[in-house]
Symmetry: C2
Subunit: 205 residues, 2 copies
Amino acid sequence: MEDIPPRTRIQTENRRRILDAALDAFSAQGFRGATLDQIARAAGLSKPNLLYYFPSKEAMHIALIEALMDTWLDPLRKLDPEGDPVDEIVGYVLRKLDLARDFPRESRLFANEIVQGAPNILPHITGPLKTLVDDKATLIAGWSRSGRLTPVDPHHLIFSIWATTQHYADFDAQVRGILAPANDAHFGDARVFLEQLYRRALTPG
Amino acid sequence: MEDIPPRTRIQTENRRRILDAALDAFSAQGFRGATLDQIARAAGLSKPNLLYYFPSKEAMHIALIEALMDTWLDPLRKLDPEGDPVDEIVGYVLRKLDLARDFPRESRLFANEIVQGAPNILPHITGPLKTLVDDKATLIAGWSRSGRLTPVDPHHLIFSIWATTQHYADFDAQVRGILAPANDAHFGDARVFLEQLYRRALTPG
DNA sequence: CAAGAGTTTGACCAAATGGTCAGGATCACG
DNA sequence: CGTGATCCTGACCATTTGGTCAAACTCTTG
């Protein structure tokens, strides 16, 4: 639960490098697929040195996931009850898509964890995450009731937004294999498509 | 490439049991997370016996993925140029959702593979899969041009359908954690939501 | 039922892997 | 500059894991 904050500069810097290397490894090969040797090499440290900063491989994994959860849900928290419903949701979609483009490793780390049954974060999902989602679902339901948003199941709307946006990070290999783009240009097309999809589906009338 | 077909009844039965156990293991824990001992125990066979039927762990993985690819893309192949465009696409969505409900292990196996960079199936993705998708994208683009479908980027439409439907298999742990359903009832709600989402977004006018 | 093909297994192995530890190097600071 | 705290490492260890193999068992069929 409580993190003892790093004290020295060396600690700050080395913990950062370790977590960065570990994020590379875990997101690309899953928890079991990543090895300490590999992480150590990428971080430029020796294996025992890794274990000087983190008591175990699992501790690195947990540290990464906890750090992730914080920022990951930020776009959802920003859903503003005062704004225009359709604009708010479209804005959420686009912010989430930005996250997928800018933090694909974090997205894949999360995906790996959930696909394998969420062994380390089920409590978080059924706790704070569920609370937040239920809260925003109520907001969306209110918008629907007021007629400013097409009536939809709010939970499944949120699921669909997660799915469509994270898809570009998690299934990047497939997307690139099919589109064969030289760069990240396809994110622009995805932006246009998703905005249109949700705007048309959610605008009443 | 070429499979030597099993000859005896024992071979047929044991290969089936091994692949079933391997699918359980690989889909739940990824390729590296699954162990031969675990698969052997689940299949009710000894570890050396496993390796009598398959030359290596990887051979099991490849056999599973190849078997999967075949049926996985069937719904997309069924997109009928003669049908009503919106109905065809909605039908595709619902068929894909049925697959996610009925074959979640296969979906997760595929997800694990892609998230980790599709090391074993990139050729298939850039080959036959891309060909099929490009073909159907052309069909959808034609529907759009004829005015019977809202103009959309066909590739991203297909991606969004994959994402929203497979989400219910791949992120099952998260969906259940948030909805806390006692059974598979949420698939009914997903059905209603997705049909509405795509029908509203794609119907012209 | 004899015999060869097909099937199964216990014992074993090499490599990989997460982790430990005693001691040495380096740094911060009085 | 001395000294205690912090940082780092080579050597080592136990376990796990994918895979091998010779021998034994069982099934089929002439």
